[in-house]
């Protein structure tokens, strides 16, 4: 099949990612406007629609500058009668919370779905916040799919519910669903010829001021009550009854009097866990709609139960609501939840197995405990591995230069008098060892914002604030203007790698050349923008030029007032991709190899630890002596290690490929074992 995502129809099935399933659900529902500020784990939702847009009629996709703009965009499209999908990561809703708080007041016209990728365990976020709590005051209804099929089906359904009740609907998808891949059964798509926008004035709903706002407030509370009625009977909420005449293996508890409530991916964990411990006869409530909850439904479920266990992640949003309902209906039984399951970290299938096993006093199979112990026994012997910059990443040069200039390389000391403010992006990894470069990391553009206050509060310190290009455009310009206005004594380094790299390389407003080498119209000139703000100290530098860069930083730190350095070099992954597309031939171009000569290397660790390029690796010789070498398969020949080695142990070998293949003497230049491989590869 050419392109199943676009052309698939009822009866087709395929392997698809959770995020793609959400996008497909929107496509089946006839989405016409799709926007997001990229953020893991939600990014592929809009990427999928964007990369297929040339095959999809009447669709507009946008990687907006931030979530606030992105959600407003979706609202505008909805008001114009176009079904719209907005996606963001969990913390994105903080930025979009303003439009989210108005959406219930104004209502929607065409369906609007807000897909949120939550990130329990925070593998790619700076916090674990559970966005469901927002709905207690935004009143946005929440749907929670449990698997790939539901991700698609619920998204499609969400558009209908949105129109029926005039709410923007939240579709919650944790990373375990966004990045779950499995079978999807396709449905048919709405006729895309029918998509056409027509904005009609609707002052009664869209104007919110004074008593108009109060009126709309009352209206949406009424709509919320209608929605509760819907939730009571909706097929999205399912009660699985305990079988009657139960095989009551366990005399201590009567199966029929205990029930479980869960939603989303955690529900999938629960079903698996109950099967795992052979506890398959308990009453279960699967909530597909987790806000608003229907009192009727909860009442019906609690009715004949003595104890209920709510299985969910984070602080217990369901437990909070259900306990309120239980109180109102005078429920006499016990409700468990956060007394069993942690409110922090990801709730894994293991956690649910352990929690359910303990509660029901039904032990998991012996091999489960053995496996857990097996890891415990050796875990302190396994070296930690944390992510780091890619081989050849320009951020490595930047972080290295900053640390050299401030004199803090390889120290995690608390007494530093150059303060280095981190921010959100690939360069965030500079906070990890071996660099330990950053003093704080919270939300987007917290670097300069917090930094400028510290520059007032503690005048004894020098401050460097980092920001990436995409983060800068997201919400950094107002912060910078604030710093200009107050002439903050700060060095602001904009790490401009031309892309929103971390989330899959979306364009930023100043991306000048597309991946296929085509110039992008309307690209903003960053330097002109800075100049127009009245900043007088602006320097641009190639971050891989580490010696010059650290001198420049030292000089800048001596100056008073606001200084800006643009560290400009394209993300190496994009550069390499473009070269691949352009099919850059080696032919007559002189080829370069960086070679680490082990006999000259004194293992000073400048390249291996301080710079820590992953292409520089460690090997043992037969006599057990260790030496460093450059893995030529991984090396992208950025030359930074060559620049930093103080002992001349790394050399640059330039040669012509043709002469290399044809003549012996040149081959002899390369004399250790690894280089044999190297020759083979290049030839």
């Amino acid at each position: 099949m050419a392109n199943l995502f676009v052309e698939g129809k009822y009866g087709d099935k395929g392997i698809i990612l959770g995020n793609e399933a959400i996008a497909r659900g929107a496509l089946e529902a006839g989405v016409g406007y799709a926007s997001m500020y990229p953020g893991t784990p939600a990014s592929e939702i809009i990427i999928t629609l964007d990369k297929n847009k040339k095959y999809i009629k009447n669709i507009y996709t946008e990687f907006s500058l931030n979530e606030h703009i992105s959600l407003h965009g979706a609202i505008g499209a909805s008001w114009s009668g176009i079904r719209s999908l907005c996606a963001m990561k969990n913390v994105g809703l903080n930025v979009a919370s303003e439009p989210a708080h108005f959406l219930a007041y104004t209502g929607v016209k065409a369906g609007l779905v807000l897909a949120i990728g939550s990130d329990p365990g925070a593998p790619s976020s700076s916090n674990e916040q559970d966005d469901r709590w927002y709905s207690l005051h935004t009143y946005m209804p929440i749907l929670e799919p449990s698997n790939i099929q539901e991700a698609k089906d619920f998204t499609k359904k969400a558009f209908e519910i949105s129109e029926q009740f005039s709410f923007g609907i939240i579709l919650m998808a944790p990373s375990r669903l966004c990045h779950n891949a499995g079978i999807l059964h396709f449905g048919d798509c709405l006729d895309r010829d029918l998509i056409s926008g027509n904005f009609k004035r609707d002052p009664e709903n869209y104007l919110n001021l004074f008593n108009l706002a109060v009126k709309n407030h009352k209206k949406y509370l009424e709509r919320n009550e209608l929605l509760k009625k819907y939730a009571n009977t909706s097929e999205l909420n399912i009660i699985i009854d305990a079988e009657t005449g139960s095989r009551n293996h366990n005399r201590r508890r009567n199966n029929n009097r205990i029930g479980f409530i869960s939603s989303g991916v955690i529900y999938a964990h629960l079903i698996e866990a109950l099967n795992f411990i052979n506890a398959d006869n308990y009453k279960i409530l699967k909530l597909g709609i987790t806000f608003p909850l229907s009192e009727e439904l909860i009442k019906r479920f609690l009715n004949d139960l003595d104890e209920v266990v709510i299985v969910e992640e984070a602080e217990g949003f369901l437990e909070f609501q259900i306990k309120k309902i239980a109180f109102e209906i005078g429920y006499q039984g016990k409700i468990h939840g956060k007394n069993i399951f942690n409110a922090y970290g990801e709730l894994t299938v293991d956690d649910v197995i352990k929690g359910a096993a303990n509660f029901l006093k039904k032990p998991p199979p012996e091999y489960f405990d053995t496996a857990v112990k097996n890891l415990e026994m050796i875990s302190d012997k396994i070296p930690q591995r944390m992510g780091t910059f890619c081989v050849g990443c320009p951020h490595r040069g930047s972080i290295y230069s900053i640390l050299k200039a401030s004199g803090y390389s390889n120290t995690d000391s608390k007494d530093r008098d150059v303060i280095i403010a981190g921010d959100i992006g690939c360069y965030t990894l500079g906070l990890l060892p071996p660099y330990n470069a950053m003093d704080w990391l919270t939300c987007m553009n917290s670097g300069l914002s917090i930094g400028q206050a510290i520059s007032i509060a503690d005048k004894s310190k020098k401050i460097i604030a980092l920001v990436g290009d995409s983060t800068f455009y997201h919400s950094g310009i107002p912060v910078l203007m604030n710093a200009v206005q107050n002439n903050s004594n700060i060095l602001y380094i904009i790490l401009d790698n031309s892309w929103t790299a971390m989330t899959g390389h979306q364009k930023t407003p100043s991306t000048k050349i597309d991946i296929d080498g085509i110039p992008i119209p309307n690209a903003i000139n960053l330097k002109d923008l800075l100049k127009s703000l009245g900043i007088s100290y602006i320097k641009t530098i190639d971050p891989n030029n580490v010696k010059r860069f650290s001198v420049l930083i030292k000089e800048a730190l001596k100056e008073k007032g606001l200084k800006v350095i643009i560290a400009k070099r394209e993300c190496i992954l994009q550069e390499e991709r473009r070269n691949k597309i352009k099919n850059v031939k080696l032919n007559n171009k002189p080829e370069i190899i960086y070679e680490l000569q082990k006999e000259r290397c004194v293992k000073c660790n400048e390249c291996f630890v301080e710079l820590a390029c992953p292409a520089i690796q460690l090997k043992k010789e037969d006599d057990n002596k260790e030496f460093y070498f450059i893995d030529t398969v991984a090396c992208v020949k950025c030359g930074v290690c060559y620049e930093v080695c103080p002992n001349g142990a790394i050399r640059k070998v330039e040669f012509n490929l043709h002469s290399l293949i044809n003549s012996e003497p040149q081959v002899n230049l390369l004399n250790n074992k690894e280089n044999k491989t190297e020759l083979k590869i290049i030839a």
């Binding site: 099967n275 780091t388 990443c393 291996f608």
Partner: protein
């Protein structure tokens, strides 16, 4: 209901996600079969820990497939519940040890990738001998090869380590999928001939 779980672990850039997707596509042939499994993707950055789960589910009957107590599956593999562990880096094999049990098959790549903590001298990279000891303590079905070397020798880069390792799965485990199905999937994909060759290299190890 029969299940067959495969955990694939390693580092960003090793093609772990692709290997998982290839295996998952093999589940499309039968109506009574399902597959799921989440992926831990690093960011754009390489070097980070990456894993993909492949959970094959074979239903005994249509009614079982429609049973709500049976037809929902966690995207994760529980401790001890993997039939096969494929690991493309030695210490990542250890990190994933909790997935396996005494009947599991472990297939791993001996090519090491030194993490930062070892570079800094904060921890020691364990010897292959010790790694093998830990693994043999759990199961005697351990197979290990230098997939990087095999890939570089045959394809000039490490691009094929993932597909070679899939070949080994079909040679050394009782995966309930026919190898022809995988070959057909590879045939339809990009770089079909290279991938088929890589798969066969693994099959013959």
């Amino acid at each position: 209901m029969q299940q067959f779980n495969i955990a694939i672990t390693g580092l960003g850039g090793q093609g772990i996600i692709t290997a998982g997707t290839i295996l998952k596509n093999a589940a499309l042939n039968s109506d009574l079969q399902d597959v799921s499994g989440s992926e831990r993707r690093g960011g754009a950055q390489r070097e980070g820990y990456v894993e993909a789960f492949v959970k094959y589910i074979f239903y005994d009957s249509v009614s079982e497939m429609q049973n709500q107590r049976k037809n929902m599956h966690s995207p994760m593999i529980a401790s001890g519940d993997a039939d096969v562990l494929i690991s493309l880096e030695p210490i990542e094999t250890l990190r994933a040890i909790s997935y396996v049990n005494k009947n599991s098959v472990i297939i791993f790549n001996t090519n090491t990738h030194i993490p930062i903590s070892v570079r800094m001298g904060k921890s020691k990279y364990p010897e292959l001998y010790d790694i093998l000891n830990s693994l043999y303590n759990i199961t005697d079905k351990v197979f290990y090869y230098d997939f990087n070397k095999l890939s570089i020798e045959n394809f000039g880069s490490i691009i094929s380590v993932n597909v070679i390792s899939l070949g080994v799965v079909f040679a050394k485990t009782n995966i309930p999928i026919s190898k022809n199905v995988i070959e057909n999937i590879l045939l339809k994909g990009p770089k079909a001939q290279d991938n088929l060759r890589a798969f066969n290299i693994g099959l013959n190890l």
